[in-house]
Symmetry: C2
Subunit: 804 residues, 2 copies
């Protein structure tokens, strides 16, 4: 994408922006009051939403839920951002870190008209207003947070900590966009949020848009004060300045003073952004990372709410966090306070005779796509363009016969991604914690550097401010940036060490939840999938040891609701290409691909791989001895690269030692082909399942992850008890890959013994073969004890070293 040169505003415009006239403030303030009114109404009112009569107990909802405290600040910012947009046509989206302020953002969309366009029954009249109130935080209604049903949102406000990563992801390769990101002072205490200020160190002002963080300090979280609110303000300034920001501060609760001061602050921030962009886009940028503007807004928690309730200070304290007035139904005093509170916003000025927003309020709106609640950037499917995808077959590895070629499969993925980068320089990025080369994906550096906005030295390799490969040693940033990037309609991949995928597991789950909810909403268009590559797996962390061994994320992904989570375990390069091509083209899934980065045997030609991946699982006839004329004696199944090799080796041992033993080898690429179709849309139908696994022959299943995952997935399949699963059982630490499979009892020898023990018949020679296998394991054990680091790092089934 060629970044448009962002025009620096004229002095006159700046002057006008920074100094709102009374005529401008009137509608702006009315809009804010209307928003606050609607926020309070959503929390409290089940009837009488326009206060056409005195409030009575029956008007009050039976349960009072929601969060008042942060809301007035959120709507205050929203109103001013809208004014800026109106005067500048600036494209802007709004991310509410304090997501509990859901009612304020819902009210904003309602006042802008977007809400009624999307949800016609919540119309801009008294009936719609009542529905707006009654749906809030109610069964069958909407959550109390900013959430998927909230128009204009790409950020669920439930689990805290990700507002800045989403904002930075949204503006990458989005030069005309400003993501206004409100950071709550509670949220600011979380690790992921603190780790995300550094987004500016990875932002290119020429190519990317801008994030405008507004740290909204209102002093308290649920039950106590926050660190940033109680620190010396000079320290807070230092902190944020140290993160790379030019700090602009606004504090107070006086109106109209706050309108004037905040308008000036917002203008200053916006002008600064334009200056930075103009400098970078106009070519007179010296390359120094700019100090991006940031606003600290200090307002009382529960601003404009009740000052005191039952003799206790309320506005400005944690007591305003949720519902400052409790028990209103049965407490006339509280009911009176509530009515006074609501009427303090002068609803008669805010709503017309039909109950819709008054002309005064509407005057504060902008129109069409400029409305933040209607921004296409926040409904990314609307602006998604397919990737220009090269034919993945051109990267295919030549595999004349199975198990003769050995190479690092992820290198071919790197080549595919290199060309995707080349052909999509405005809508594809790789996100990785400093491991792109380590993961053998380094081919991408042939066409794009790593992005780095801090000092770059001449001797640095593949590092520049023009790079678009995103490396930061933070899974939270990588994951979150990709979320923001895809939710605004672009494509990418997060590649990480398998074990450390657990660092961001909660993000994976929450994103899957977002996509699940979005499926139910017609107006949300499907967005590119979140693709996660897990490499450096448990089986091949030879020297790193136990802390680097953990296939746990699969445990979490297989429990995501049916249509979202997909898990692929391609065993070689060609199947990886086929899977990756599918994932990059897909929409609204969480695709997890698991494959190691080390040299590994190749099994399939590209044509075989495509067919195999399309089916999700299949019989590898060449590997077994089952000719299809009768039931096999055993099914050897496998999913995952290392355990596939062990399975093939086991089949080979059985073939050699007991040629009349009928072994069928089944490889599973698409893990979600295993469950019943009623449990997952990828599930094989029962006929196919039985063609592979029969409905009664025992299955020895060698699995990449925890065995229990397979037990879960095959539950309900015919005679599921017959699946004997071997997999990662948390054994081993610093050792060879072969020793890893031995310690976890999934080695070729274990599989052979399992096959014999569970076979339908015991052929001649079985007990001798079991003894031979045990002898191999004993020899291995002795070897480990004696040889330490001299052990061969891995045993191929094809080594001819006596292991088969």
């Amino acid at each position: 994408m060629t970044a448009r040169t962002a025009a620096v505003p004229t002095d006159a415009l700046v002057e006008a922006l920074a100094n709102p006239t009374d005529e401008e403030i009137a509608p702006l303030d009315a809009w804010w009051r209307a928003n606050n009114y609607l926020t309070v109404a959503q929390i409290y009112l089940g009837a009488n939403p326009l206060l056409k009569r005195t409030l009575v107990s029956d008007d009050i909802k039976p349960r009072l839920l929601g969060h008042w405290g942060t809301s007035p600040g959120l709507s205050f910012i929203y109103a001013h951002a809208t004014r800026l947009i109106g005067k500048t046509d600036q494209q802007m989206i709004y991310l509410a870190g304090p997501g509990h302020g859901g009612p304020a953002l819902v009210a904003a969309g309602y006042l802008e008209g977007t809400y009624s366009e999307i949800y016609p029954d919540v119309s801009q009249d008294e009936g719609g207003l009542l529905r707006l109130c009654r749906q809030f935080s109610a069964p069958g209604g909407i959550p109390s947070h900013v959430s998927v049903p909230t128009p204009g949102s790409i950020h669920e406000g439930g689990e805290l900590g990700y507002v800045l990563v989403h904002a930075f992801g949204a503006v990458m390769d989005n030069p005309d966009l400003i993501a206004l990101a409100v950071v709550g002072d509670g949220e600011a205490e979380t690790g992921p949020l603190e780790g995300s200020w550094k987004g500016v160190s990875f932002l290119n002002p020429a190519r990317d848009g801008a994030v405008l963080p507004i740290l909204h300090l209102n002093g308290a979280k649920i039950a106590g004060p926050t660190v940033l609110a109680r620190k010396d303000p000079a320290e807070v300034r230092e902190l944020l300045s140290g993160h790379g920001y030019e700090v602009i501060e606004v504090e107070g609760d006086d109106i109209p003073g706050m309108h004037h001061r905040f308008a000036a602050a917002l203008t200053r921030a916006w002008v600064r952004i334009r200056e930075i962009q103009q400098s970078a886009r106009g070519g007179d940028w010296d390359g120094t990372r700019p100090d991006w503007p940031l606003i600290i807004l200090r307002t009382p928690k529960g601003w404009t709410g009740p000052k005191e309730v039952d003799g206790q200070r309320t506005e400005g304290t944690w007591r305003s966090h949720q519902v400052p007035l409790s028990g209103v139904k049965g407490n006339q005093d509280h009911l009176d306070i509530l009515e006074t509170w609501l009427r303090s916003y002068r609803p008669e000025e805010l709503f017309d005779e039909n109950g819709g927003p008054s002309e005064l309020v509407r005057r504060a709106n902008v129109t069409g796509d400029l409305r933040m609640s209607a921004s296409p950037h926040a409904n990314g499917g609307l602006v998604t363009r397919d990737l220009e995808m090269p034919d993945f077959r051109q990267y295919a590895v030549d595999v004349p016969t199975p198990a003769t070629v050995k190479l690092e499969s992820t290198r071919t993925l790197g080549e595919l991604m290199r060309d995707i980068y080349r052909d999509n320089d405005d809508r594809f990025r790789l996100f990785c914690p400093d491991e792109t080369n380590s993961n053998r994906l380094g081919a991408v550096f042939e066409v794009s550097d790593r992005m780095f906005a801090e000092t770059v030295y001449p001797e640095d390799v593949s590092l520049s401010r023009d790079g678009r490969v995103m490396e930061v040693l933070s899974e939270h940033n990588c994951h979150g940036w990709l979320e923001g990037y895809t939710l605004t309609g672009r494509h990418g991949l997060f590649a990480t060490y398998e074990a450390f995928a657990m660092v961001s597991a909660s993000q994976t789950i929450q994103h899957a939840k977002w996509l699940q909810e979005a499926e139910h909403l017609d107006w949300r268009e499907p967005v590119p999938s979140l693709n996660i590559l897990l490499t450096s797996t448990a089986w091949r962390n030879d020297h790193n040891g136990f802390s680097h061994q953990g296939p746990g994320l699969l445990q979490n992904v297989i429990t995501t609701r049916g249509n979202i989570g997909r898990v692929y375990l391609p065993p070689d390069a060609n199947s990886l290409l086929s899977v990756a091509d599918h994932c990059f083209r897909s929409r609204s899934y969480v695709n997890v691909i698991v494959i190691d980065k080390q040299p590994q045997l190749q099994w399939m030609t590209i044509d075989e791989a495509v067919e195999h991946c399309t089916r999700g699982a299949g019989v590898w006839e060449w590997a077994g001895t089952d000719d299809g004329s009768a039931d096999p004696d055993i099914v050897l199944a496998c999913a995952g690269d290392v355990v596939t090799m062990e399975t093939i080796a086991a089949a080979e041992i059985l073939k050699k030692h007991m040629p009349h033993f009928r072994t069928r080898v089944v490889n599973v690429v698409d893990l979600m082909a295993l469950p019943r179709r009623k449990d997952h849309p990828h599930g094989m139908d029962e006929t196919l399942f039985n063609e592979l696994f029969t409905d009664h022959v025992d299955v020895v299943f060698a699995f990449h992850g925890y065995p229990g995952a397979i037990h879960q997935l095959v539950h309900g399949r015919p005679d599921a008890d017959r699946f004997r699963v071997r997999g990662f059982i948390e054994e081993g630490t610093t050792t060879t890959p072969f020793d890893m499979v031995v310690r976890n009892r999934v080695s070729r020898y274990h599989l052979v013994m399992d096959a014999i023990n569970n076979a339908r018949r015991t052929p001649p020679g079985a007990s001798e073969l079991k003894a031979w296998c045990q002898m191999q394991l004993d020899k291995h054990e002795a070897y480990v004890v004696e040889h330490l680091e001299d052990m061969p790092e891995v045993r191929d089934w094809s080594l001819g070293d006596g292991s088969v």
Copy 2:
């Protein structure tokens, strides 16, 4: 614990500390060189460890693994810290954030003698030295990171981000301890690390010890530069100053200059700590949060290593991160560089004729428990004192008959913890993200405030610098602090919203791995368990909705290796008391307790609860109709509070409508009683299992979490396919608890229909009852659509509202 008054050092001591003489520097520098030598030797040498002859290819290990880059800085700091300890008797432990620097910390323990005391075969002679080299990063040996086998460590250096949380946890209630925490500049990019600087905002200088962070900026991570290393140093100072630190900087690579400058810096930091502590403990502290000292140490990556390899700059770049010289075995040029490198440390001065550390080197050591590698604080089991536990029975709830009393069960836990706090004011803490009251544990505030070192206002409630309840809106901090606290021998609980336990899931897993590894090491004494309370569960997040619904952590905990992970699902207050008492007394487990905070029906007297929890699972005869005279027609099993209520209600419906249908109700408290004993030590033996579940009658199992977890756990039990599990299937969002169980198909009506569908016989009236159940569900559905927020929030089985 009464904090000892930390003496402020005399001027003479400060002067001596800050200005090391040449006589002092000689052994210190020799120790450092010896450490560096051993680090290089561990990475490269499989023979000839003392370089008694010219290095040859056969001396080189077949695989070169390990991380050189960070190691010389780590050992430099270690050497100086030891000097400080020697002159001051300061108790200190060393946490290496850049855990890849394992060889440096192993070498430190070896030079101090601790290593050989613990591992006698790694003796202080040539044979031991060879073992030291050969075991490193080799099968059957030790990981390349600082890890559990490393003496003096409480911090695995694999997954990055937690060094400061562990350090702060270690010094809480540990007034005489300084935790020296080295933060790597790669690690400093992670979210958890950035979120953990704020530990100083929760530290009481009178009661707690001190953390001395050393930010070790060496410029690069695996493959590129780091943000902090490339920012303007003034910005880095601002950032850390903003976090609340007094920044002390040391930079360079010149020797002996660096020894002098670092000694002065370390002295300044230590004196500052003593001044802060003296002020706080002497009573003249005004309460302002002190600026704690922090050192920024800038040294080249791979300091003292090869300056250039193959024409490329190596020292000071990412090329020094791991193994700066590759392919040494077959490259005489590299072999020569390696020999020159090793000899640059003058090994002849460093080792005596036997191969042990020379007298010069040993002169730099301190002795006994003052050695950081031998600190009892880093082997917390040595200093663990049992909790003074009140008799939990005194908090028992009176339950005259099941299902008649309704209350918030966690309140009783709060009362128990209040008295544990009272009686153990030096060794018990609760860690919670701002939800202590919300989780109904607020009774603890009767005896302890929340700890807060930033400004406290008079109107704040239960908040002071003397508090010991730890509330910070960061699961990473809460979890990590508790880890540091328990690993140094103290006790506690981390209480959090169930869904957000996934934020710190990786910490849970990594801590379980630590405990697993520690089990194999005789010298590591068992430490208090890591207790996690999950509340605000998926079933009762009425208004928060889908982002707050996620029982995923159980998926991860049940896969931890046999002896570590424990999951308890007490269904009521008395069983919670029994479980909590057990967990607080236990050692070296990860105990996860799941129970909701809302009012719930009570089932068991305290005596019944104790018996039930001791067995882990049992038949509730009063709930079913099975008189034991014959097999039941169906087993209704349940685990988890909400689903237990549904199960009891289902049994009641069956009893009422089909009195001759034989229903057996089994409640499971200890989830790990379900697997076979060979899979988990809590596993019931088969006889007991069959007494509860029979070996052939179908089981309808209502589970709190994802159904797949039960499928995993009962795998291998007799006819496991007969377990029909209902649980959380990711349905529902903002709705009532009863609607949640309906949407997830685990309501009483679903369970009744399941029971009938799977029963051994179809009694008269079965189809009518199924139709009635379906009608109830249809009525419910209609109610949801029509009533929105007016729905009753929950339906008790005892409500008599026609639902039973």
